[in-house]
């Protein structure tokens, strides 16, 4: 197979697994906006190194290697120690990250699960995940304390995780 064709295939794989790769970056960084930049950097490196990918290999695992390195680079620029993991931690987490394709079925049941949240919790989830406001900004908008926002987010995650698993487990009687 020629180089251009390999590159084309690799880029297609990137597009297909973009949600998974972005999720990996988002989870390690804890920052949506920064993750978007790192994803783009990762894409550029993937494009450059496309021909070194073995088309029989696990693309997600290969892309994680590149993304992991880009995450470390992005982290190195951060001023506050509280905002970054050490490279050692990133390595350890990256090595244990699941490399299965992103499960679109979870997205299909998500609206139903969001609908079961209390209105206020749903609003906070939207402000955080859709509008990408930080908890302290959400606190200011809603006139809550930041700690209360964090607790609400945390509870919503626990509930939604269970709800999604429950929905995917099969039809309910």
């Amino acid at each position: 197979m020629n180089v251009a064709a390999t590159q084309q295939q690799v880029l297609q794989l990137f597009v297909r697994h973009q949600a998974r790769i972005k999720g990996f970056i988002v989870s390690l960084l804890g920052d949506f906006a920064a993750a978007e930049d790192v994803l783009q950097e990762t894409f550029l490196v993937v494009q450059r190194k496309a021909e070194s990918f073995d088309l029989n290999g696990n693309f997600i695992a290969w892309a994680f290697q590149i993304a992991r390195f880009q995450v470390m680079k992005a982290q190195a620029q951060r001023q506050r120690a509280a905002d970054r993991f050490s490279n050692e931690v990133i390595e350890a987490l990256a090595a244990s990250a699941p490399v299965e394709p992103f499960d679109e079925a979870k997205l299909a049941v998500l609206p139903g699960c969001l609908g079961k949240l209390a209105p206020q919790a749903r609003q906070i989830v939207q402000l955080f995940y859709q509008h990408e406001h930080k908890p302290r900004e959400i606190a200011r908008l809603l006139d809550w304390t930041p700690a209360a926002v964090s607790v609400a987010l945390s509870r919503a995650r626990t509930f939604l995780r269970q709800c999604i698993e429950h929905q995917l487990a099969g039809p309910q009687p």
Binding site: V26, D83, E88, L107, Q130, H131, S150, L153, S154
Partner: protein, 512 residues
């Protein structure tokens, strides 16, 4: 083993709000325990699903405005690769669950004018663009916004403004001047530590990089609310945020804040420079011997309704006849365009050509929601070789529309080169460069928007495109609504396939 504590720490990390001590505690646990790392990824999975799911609900177009536009979408991937399955890439982006309970981000403000505006991430804004809630990151230049509440805000780069609602915005960095008419009284600017509530004013806020906000009241009155203060400042007063939210009086420096007039003056200069630049490049472009047809809509004979074909080897019939439609302003003041609104609004021309390879380049602005079929161009003679270039509504895609180029094949069958979701709702009102490169010899067709390839597809048989007669802006001979509603101010048809680099350059030279 304390999972509750671990979940708390992981969530703090995912929230992006962690203290140094918490960071160290979490790091130690993750390094020491494989089980804890597994729990990290389990917790992260929900985070990922929520982010992905809710971001896909925010349907956005190939428009600018920060995070809003290109970056959020898979577009930049498609554009870089011009993937054969481009349509699928875009589908990924547009696909939204029909049972969506969460709506897209609300639109809250309009860009009224920009001057030398450079956005972080290289996006472009045009006057008239709608802005959704979210952060604007202006690196340089001036931008004037009108919030839907009626308040007007001038931003001077570098600045970051996080728009929360039609009445509230957070100034993260930079200089901002707010002009608040009575109808929008109560308009509020937030800064770290302050809440500034307008009581009928013009006021300036400056947040330097050290984060100590300054307020200068140019006229009227502003209520300042902080952790330890609650007072009002009036015309000519100024203050800076001191320690613990205290208010430190300053000498007002109204001249250091950008005014609406500054934006206006700079925008006018910039627009005339862009127009002059475009004229130069347009004259160069018009010398290309491969042009079949080139309308710049400039040297038009208004009385006879004739649009001159400037192509060097123009045939006699290549001049356009403006059957309906009005003359209007184009990309810049002083640039002519034709405005199409009704069924009879169209241009007829006889280029008298059959081309196996052709490139169509059009500068257009859609002025109505893309909820009906709109014809950019077609050859009216029914039969093999007939072509159409259309916008095709896609109701399932929430106000987005497809672009398609159709050719009737030798067999009589219509072959569509369709790009799903190519045009989002936010393209309405903006000038766009739309391009189709059709190559019947190689059986390929590519669509470009604003200089970027969005799709490459296989395209039918080797039969040449029938360009003997063309109708621009309308279907022409049908009662079905299919009129282009908007403006066109440049149209070129080449007898060859223009490459990506050449099209990107044409876009750069012609962008408003």
């Amino acid at each position: 083993m304390n999972d509750e504590r671990l979940i708390f720490l992981i969530d703090r990390h995912l929230d992006g709000e962690m203290s140094t001590a918490e960071r160290e505690e979490l790091a130690a646990r993750l390094l020491n325990s494989a089980a804890d790392r597994t729990l990290f990824w389990a917790r992260a999975e929900t985070h990922i699903v929520l982010h992905e799911g809710l971001q896909r609900q925010s349907v956005e177009a190939p428009a600018p405005a920060e995070r809003n536009g290109w970056r959020r979408s898979a577009w930049w991937v498609a554009a870089a690769a011009c993937l054969v399955f481009g349509a699928m890439v875009i589908w990924q982006h547009w696909a939204a669950s029909p049972a969506t309970i969460v709506t897209a981000r609300p639109e809250v403000a309009v860009v009224q004018q920009t001057a030398g505006a450079r956005w972080r991430n290289g996006e472009e804004t045009q006057a008239g663009d709608r802005l959704q809630t979210g952060t604007l990151r202006l690196e340089a230049g001036l931008v004037r916004l009108r919030f839907f509440s009626g308040a007007s805000v001038v931003l001077q780069g570098p600045a970051e403004l996080d728009i929360k609602s039609p009445t509230v915005a957070l100034v993260k960095r930079g200089r901002v001047t707010a002009t608040v008419p009575p109808v929008a009284e109560g308009f509020t600017l937030l800064t770290e530590g302050w809440r500034l509530v307008d009581r009928g004013t013009v006021f300036g806020v400056n947040v330097p990089d050290n984060g100590k906000a300054e307020l200068h009241v140019l006229s009227g009155k502003v209520d300042v609310q902080g952790a330890t203060v609650a007072r009002s400042l009036t015309t000519g007063q100024a203050a800076r945020l001191g320690r613990d939210g205290a208010l430190v009086e300053l000498t007002a420096a109204p001249e250091s804040f950008p005014t609406e007039r500054d934006v206006f003056a700079r925008a006018a200069t910039q627009q005339s420079e862009r127009l002059i630049g475009w004229r130069e490049s347009s004259q160069r472009a018009a010398q290309d011997p491969s042009l079949l047809l080139y309308y710049d809509f400039e040297k038009a004979d208004h009385d006879q309704g004739l649009i001159h074909n400037l192509a060097p080897a123009a045939v006699k019939g290549g001049d356009g006849v403006l059957v309906g439609g009005e003359w209007a302003e184009g990309r810049w003041p002083g640039k002519n365009a034709v405005e199409f609104r009704r069924v009879g609004d169209l241009i007829r021309t006889l280029p008298q050509a059959q081309l196996q390879v052709a490139t169509f380049v059009a500068w257009v602005r859609f002025d109505a929601p893309l909820d009906q079929r709109q014809t950019l161009l077609l050859s009216p003679k029914v039969g093999p070789g007939q072509v159409y270039w259309l916008v095709w509504p896609e109701h399932r895609l929430d106000q987005a529309a497809a672009l398609t180029f159709v050719k009737t094949e030798q067999s009589g069958r219509d072959r569509h080169a369709l790009v799903h979701g190519a045009l989002g709702a936010t393209v309405v009102g903006r000038w766009l460069q739309l391009v189709v490169v059709a190559d019947a010899t190689g059986g390929k067709i590519r669509h470009f928007i604003n200089g970027l390839c969005i799709s490459e597809q296989n395209f039918g048989d080797a039969l040449p495109l029938d360009l003997n007669e063309l109708v621009i802006g309308n279907w022409g001979y049908t009662r079905e609504p299919s009129s282009f509603i908007g403006r066109m101010d440049e149209l070129a048809i080449y007898r060859r396939a223009l490459g990506s680099a050449e099209l990107a350059r044409l876009y750069e030279e012609g962008k408003p």
